[in-house]
């Protein structure tokens, strides 16, 4: 717990440093992770396993990528690019978002390994999967 807390805290500090234009020497993988976080939303892409954050885009009534593999403890953020609201609902209703309107986001942290199937409760033909690796 303390390890992930301190890395989150550390990441926030590094973020603040970068936004003020100062370079903070870091391990290469961590600095890459932070750099991706400050990109504008439409440049975010789904990426897996390495960092503690990942992204899914909702575009044309489709979750992209439809299957996302992440490490346990990762937070996934869904961003809605459609002109219509969508929702993210776990198939057995273990978690669900509020309505996500255009350019709004929903995040959920996955703390348990396994396969999580979800869908949009407004448009149930829209389905996706998160594969959480230990």
């Amino acid at each position: 717990m303390s390890r992930s807390q301190s890395s989150r805290h550390g990441r926030t500090e590094r973020l603040a440093s970068i936004s003020k234009g100062r370079f903070v020497p870091l391990a290469l993988a961590s600095s890459l992770a932070v750099f991706c976080l400050v990109l504008p939303p439409h440049a975010a892409t789904a990426w897996a396993a390495d960092g503690k954050v990942a992204a899914v885009n909702i575009d044309n009534f489709t979750f992209t990528p439809p299957v996302l593999t992440i490490a346990v403890g990762t937070t996934v953020t869904w961003t809605n690019r459609d002109d219509i609201p969508h929702t993210v609902v776990e198939n057995d209703r273990n978690f669900r978002s509020a309505a996500i309107d255009t350019d709004e986001q929903f995040s959920h942290k996955f703390n348990t390994p396994g396969e999580i199937n979800y869908f949009c409760s407004l448009h149930p033909h829209m389905t996706g999967k998160i594969v959480v690796k230990p």
């Binding site: 044309n60 009534f61 489709t62 459609d82 002109d83 219509i84 609201p85 929702t87 198939n91 509020a98 309505a99 309107d101 255009t102 199937n117 979800y118 869908f119 409760s121 407004l122 448009h123 149930p124 033909h125 389905t127």
Partner: protein
């Protein structure tokens, strides 16, 4: 058996009539006389001459929607209400087949109710999926439209002028990969509601998502809709009115007539004609040709049920 869709007895087969109606945006008068459906292209004035009672179907007002396809859905709903107030033959009441609001917000419900109240018509409502995305997942809708006559998520039935109306809710408890859903509790209620009714009672069923399968890839259908339709099939005249797809699709099967209405907010593409069923952008000056209202005329003496669509564009 002759396929009535291609019957050219009017000099214009129904299939062609439907095509003409969709392209030109004028009215189509459906009548059923002696159980045989026929259709003709008509103007609004001719429709007004029809005797008997009529009611209105309004659908998919999406109050709160403000994206490029229509920057002001509340404004186009107000225009629709002006059309209603200008009808030559005042309807007896209106039904709304759902997606009253866009995001189930309190202000959206309030604005919609305020505008629709200016029609001076009694209204019967069923929710669309956009009306049940509040935190209580339908509680905001029921707070406004639940009555002593509604059950469950808001299904209901009532009688007007000898016609039995049934409002169904098929937008809750949806399953991943599925379509619309009625659920066992509602189906049991429907069976009980129909039990003992004379088969010559004309029935009108209204629900948000089409009760029959139009395009499953886009969710245009109801998983257990066939169970409801099977219960309705024995009746002599059944009209199924739906919304959700923001365009008119119609068919007649035996004694059952199916009709989906235009939206008063924005159009959606025809099945498979776009990547997804999202709001379809059209030139601003053409928007109103794609938005509309439906009047259903019921004439008791010869038992026809005429469905007339009109757009918000000036005729």
């Amino acid at each position: 058996m002759q396929n009535h869709d291609d019957d050219p007895s009017d000099g214009l087969s129904r299939r062609h009539a439907l095509e003409c109606m969709i392209w030109a945006g004028t009215g189509v008068l459906w009548t059923m006389a002696g159980g045989v459906p026929t259709s003709r292209i008509i103007g609004e004035a001719q429709a007004a001459e029809t005797q008997g009672f009529s009611f209105l179907q309004v659908s998919d007002s999406h109050v709160g929607f403000n994206k490029p396809a229509n920057p002001d859905a509340l404004a186009t709903l107000k225009e629709a209400v002006s059309k209603i107030k200008g009808l030559a033959h005042k309807p007896s009441f209106m039904i709304h087949t759902g997606d009253i609001t866009h995001l189930s917000k309190d202000k959206e419900f309030d604005d919609a109710a305020q505008v629709l109240s200016t029609t001076g018509l009694e209204g019967y409502y069923v929710p669309g999926e956009h009306d049940v995305i509040d935190e209580g997942r339908g509680k905001s809708y029921l707070a406004r439209y639940g009555t002593k006559h509604t059950r469950g998520a808001g299904w209901t039935s009532f009688d007007q002028n000898g016609v039995h109306f049934i409002g169904l809710v098929n937008v809750l408890n949806l399953k991943a990969g599925g379509l619309g859903n009625l659920g066992d509790e509602q189906l049991a209620w429907l069976a009980a509601d129909l039990k003992g009714r004379s088969k010559s009672t004309p029935i009108v069923v209204f629900a948000h998502v089409p009760l029959w399968t139009i395009y499953p890839k886009w969710g245009w259908g109801t998983d257990d809709g066939a169970k409801a339709l099977a219960m309705l099939k024995p009746f002599g005249s059944v009209t199924v009115l739906n919304g959700h797809i923001h365009q008119i699709v119609q068919k007649v099967e035996g004694n059952m007539t199916f009709h989906t209405a235009r939206s008063t907010a924005f159009p959606q593409p025809k099945p498979g004609k776009a990547k997804s069923p999202g709001p379809m952008k059209v030139p601003a000056e053409d928007l109103r040709k794609f938005l509309g209202l439906t009047t259903v005329n019921y004439v008791q003496s010869s038992k026809p049920l005429a469905v007339v669509d009109q757009t918000l564009a000036a005729i």
